[in-house]
Amino acid sequence: MQKPLTKNIEKGRAPFNFQQYSAAGGYLSVAKALAMEPKALVTFVKDSGLGGRGGAGFNTGLKWSFTPEPDGGPRYLVVNADEMEPGTFKDRLLMEHDPHLLIEGMITSAYAIQASMAYIFLRGEYKLAEKNLQTAIAEAYVAGVLGKNIHGSNYSLDICLHTSAGRYICGEETALINALEGKRANPRAKPPFPQVSGLWGRPTLVNNVETICNIPGIVTHGIEWYKALGLNGQPGTRICGVSGRVKNPGCWEMPVGTTFRTLLEDYAGGMQDGYQLKAFLPGGGSTDFLLPEHLDLPMLPSDVAKAGSRLGTSLIMVLDDKTCPVGCIHNLIKFFAHESCGWCTPCRDGLPWAEHMLEKLEAGTGSLKDIEILQEMTVYMGPGNTFCALAPGAAEPLQSGLKYFMDEFVSHVNHGCGYKKH
């Protein structure tokens, strides 16, 4: 099985430097890209079928194609490395262990969208990723793949590694842009979309780390190669993972279209002894619960959507039968309430209220009315009623929890939390 995203990675070994990375077939996509027209490269990436790996899954080339014609002013590529979705740790793996893959992907992608400057927006806590990326960027400048006249062409690019200082909302692309501009990280209304008016009002593409890491392979080896990597005709590979009470938590690269069962049983070794699978969140803390009956679904956005959830980041969080579902949802809502930027009322005031009611339920002082209100709130905080997707995301585990575990919620009203505390 080919693993273009992780082929250079060996845990316990330092990441490849520029020479090692190039010797392993690296930076070939840059020369190929420079020989193409940028618009043709955008179409090429669109035709590969690559979808965003940040959680939304939108066709990457299509997203790139929404940029207007260049007008001589600055254009920006921004890599979203603010990985903070609960249960997500895949971008950390790529940046810590193969930083040159991201750098190569950035150069090729920036050329495609005719960007003059690229930023990596890295969460401040990822100290090792910061160090390894700084080293890789410096090596790339020395080798001439960054800076003025790359490979002797007319194309020049600078990369700046920007490290942040916390706050989950910075992962929202317009909030990220505000943070980069030196403002509070409130999101912006869309339209205008960042492709048209982003960083300092200029055309900007914001892409996830893993998305950009797919670009070198696609451009070097071609569309047919990429389309053959997945199962049943699906394009590409993706990093999938598991956390929670499984024998072997972690993340691994696998063909697109792999099933949840393969991930859980073959890669993660199944549940720890003495624990049964009760439910799982398929793609981070802001996705709807799925049940064991869904394990044979392929990890594809459309299949997961049909089952009433969202594939998101494809790193699953497992809820075992000895962990209280209400407590789990309480912890998630506490996280989202804390991370609300405060801009819009349903999120700023709704999430702490939901947290309070879940706290009461856990303490045994909740009521059936509280459950009724929690149900209503998943509508008030739903898509279309809020300024960004944070609150609707928070509503996903809550609404699916109420759907699948209503009996446990009601039991909390009558008896409090019957689960042993961890």
Binding site: P74, E83, M84, E85, P86, G87, T88, F89, D91, R92, R123, G124, E125, Y126, K127, L128, D158, C160, H162, T163, S164, A165, G166, R167, Y168, A179, L180, E181, G182, K183, R184, A185, W200, G241, V242, S243, G244, R245, P249, G250, C251, G285, L315, M317, L319, D320, T323, G327, C328, N331, L332, F335, H338, E339, C341, K421, H422
Partner: protein, 170 residues
């Protein structure tokens, strides 16, 4: 004239040479000085341990950012400390994977061992304990950071060792 009361409002301090040097370097990456605000706060915090009013006013003046705007940025980001912190800031993850794997009892252990709750600093000024949202190490939960170091697969014993190691370094 002797009825005038001298203002006790904080005043900007002088930024140090190192701080100015690093801030100037950051400025080269961005087209506008306002964009450097958060970076400048982090630089000041690196040297001073936290961001005091005097530091904030100094950075605001240096970058020509309205002080209230910069305060808005400083108070938005949880890793900018607008109060003094101890030598080692413990960022303890309490998000869902760590919670499932038992971080609540580990946090109780830290509180019992160090005698501090979230937001407090030990009397010897060695440790400050702060909760932090998902650190992105969920496969090695429970996890925390102390300063710039990550510690994973935590147990009461490993926590005791980490605390002892940091006490020894002090």
């Amino acid at each position: 004239m002797s009825n005038l009361i001298a203002s006790t409002a904080p005043r900007a301090r002088q930024l140090t040479h190192e701080e100015i040097h690093e801030i100037e370097h950051e400025k080269t990456h961005y087209p506008y000085p306002q964009a450097v605000g958060l970076e400048a706060l982090k630089i000041v915090q690196k040297y001073q341990g936290w961001v005091s009013d005097e530091s904030l006013l100094a950075v605001a003046a240096y970058l020509q950012i309205p002080p209230d705007d910069l305060e808005g940025v400083a108070t938005f980001f949880n890793l900018i400390y607008r109060r003094p912190v101890g030598k080692n800031v413990i960022l303890f993850c309490d998000s869902v994977a760590c919670w499932m794997l038992g971080c609540d009892s580990l946090k109780a252990h830290i509180t019992k061992t160090l005698g501090i709750e979230y937001g407090q600093t030990t009397t010897d000024n060695l440790f400050t304990l702060i909760p932090v949202p998902c650190l992105g190490d969920c496969d090695k939960a429970p996890t925390m950071m102390v300063g710039n170091e990550s510690y994973r697969n935590l147990t009461p014993t490993s926590i005791d060792q980490i605390i002892a190691d940091h006490k020894a370094k002090a």
